[in-house]
Symmetry: C2
Subunit: 283 residues, 2 copies
């Protein structure tokens, strides 16, 4: 553990000094790379970098003078300001990205088992960021949602004895998973989706939960339970009084979770070909 700390500190330090090689103090470089291609709220940048407003303001002024960004007032709220990269600024950010990608690529290329290395990093990033996992509502067709569903399907294909083909399963319409009918919830860890659940509604007081998934690196952190709790809260908000779900007998942990969390098994309420158990819970 201490060895890990040391190795990582050295690596972070080396990355920082390679950043310094571009002739700009680290604080300024961090602000620049925190803006993102779309531009970003000054307050949001300050929040993620934990900077004092005075310092932030000065750094922005410096970068503005270099011609790397522009700061404009937010049309929705005149107090807020939005920083946007100029083409020159975007080019600088690309240079910084290249520096860190190079290091990463070299590290991976030199390693005999790059997949193992990536899996290890994933595990550690999730472990370190576990208190920062946030559950948010997104559109069921957003990239993060697609990412979760793809991983979910891939895992089902592996775990079901019959395999899994999404085309033959009952696939809810996207409209049933977005307001005002339903919701799509994802758990995000540092910008990466690590879990999801879909709440399907049809305008009645009975909703349905579908597509509960947690990334392998984030399992055992109680994330599935948190997702379920958030989904139930969302269902209540939408005026639902009862939730149902179906599941496959291969998903034993999920079934155990449902039982523990007060779901009761009921007869089949749909014709889902992959389902063996059906559950219900009143809110």
């Amino acid at each position: 553990m201490r060895r890990f700390n040391r190795a990582v500190t050295v690596e972070v330090g080396a990355l920082d000094s390679s950043f310094l090689g571009r002739g700009r103090p680290l604080g300024a470089a961090r602000v620049l790379t925190a803006i993102g291609p779309e531009g970003r709220d000054v307050a949001a940048i300050r929040e993620t970098l934990k900077l004092d407003s005075g310092l932030m303001s000065r750094l922005l002024r410096g970068l503005e003078a270099e011609g790397l960004l522009t700061v404009a007032r937010d049309p929705d709220d005149g107090r807020r300001r939005i920083a946007r990269l100029t083409p020159a600024g975007a080019a600088e950010v690309a240079q910084y990205d290249a520096l860190s990608n190079d290091r990463a690529a070299r590290l991976l290329a030199a390693h005999p088992r790059p997949e193992a290395l990536l899996a290890a990093m994933d595990l550690i990033a999730t472990a370190l960021g576990r208190d920062r996992i946030e559950i948010t509502h997104i559109d069921p067709e957003a990239p993060a949602a697609r990412h979760c569903l793809q991983n979910y399907y891939a895992e089902l294909a592996q775990r079901f004895e019959t395999g899994f083909d999404p085309a033959t399963s009952l696939d809810p319409e996207a409209a049933a998973l977005r307001p005002p009918l339903g919701r799509f919830l994802v758990a995000m860890s540092d910008g990466l989706p690590v879990g999801a659940v879909a709440l399907k509604g049809n305008g009645t007081e009975t909703g349905e939960l579908k597509r509960l998934w947690v990334a392998p690196a984030a399992r055992g952190l109680g994330l599935a339970r948190r997702l379920m709790a958030e989904a139930q809260a969302a269902a209540r908000e939408l005026g639902m009084t009862r939730l149902r779900l179906d599941t496959n007998r291969a998903l034993t942990e999920a079934i155990a979770l449902y039982r523990r969390d007060g779901w009761t098994e009921i007869p089949a309420f749909n014709t889902e070909p992959y389902a063996h158990h059906w559950f219900e819970k009143s809110l």
Copy 2:
């Protein structure tokens, strides 16, 4: 990968600010913890922390004024100076260690699979520190040597179809593995032994290699080959002209390595009960 970087940077930053909580600037804290219980060469500290000599000198003076360390001249070389912790300094270091151990313990305790997390950290620490793996000669009864041998035996017990009991194997006397007869080589990565090989001598021109082991997290980095090369160089230094070794048929990678590196199979030259193959190489 970027996510890993961010998570780790945040963690390192958090650890740093918890260090600041002890009312001493980070630079001074780093110097203090870099000294180690035995005292350390000022130049060596400067090297690992990459500090300017002026800065280093001032930090030492400050810590000395606090009564946390003493600086004395090196008896072997009057230009060099050796920093040693006073009891008060050792207590401070213990406090810093406690801070980082607490964080580590909390992280591990909160994780569902602490072993997996540790293995992942080990893998990453080794991957990041691979250019810093150093091969040194140590005493065959030093703690690092014991550590390697224990892991080596444990692995043999698992891989040999008959199991492995060191008591029934031909165990070289420690004297045959230390100068002037032989050598014991370990590969150290940031203070942790990650590989070893023993060179057994009996005063003649024929030596024997034994106990070649590489830690799982460090496999595939070509470390076994480096260890073999260093051992051969050490054998030449000791005036040997021929090396022999025996091995078990379960150790297929090792056998492949010997063949690739110019060893030739020969008839049994000893009665090692666990051996199936015997090799020889002239230097």
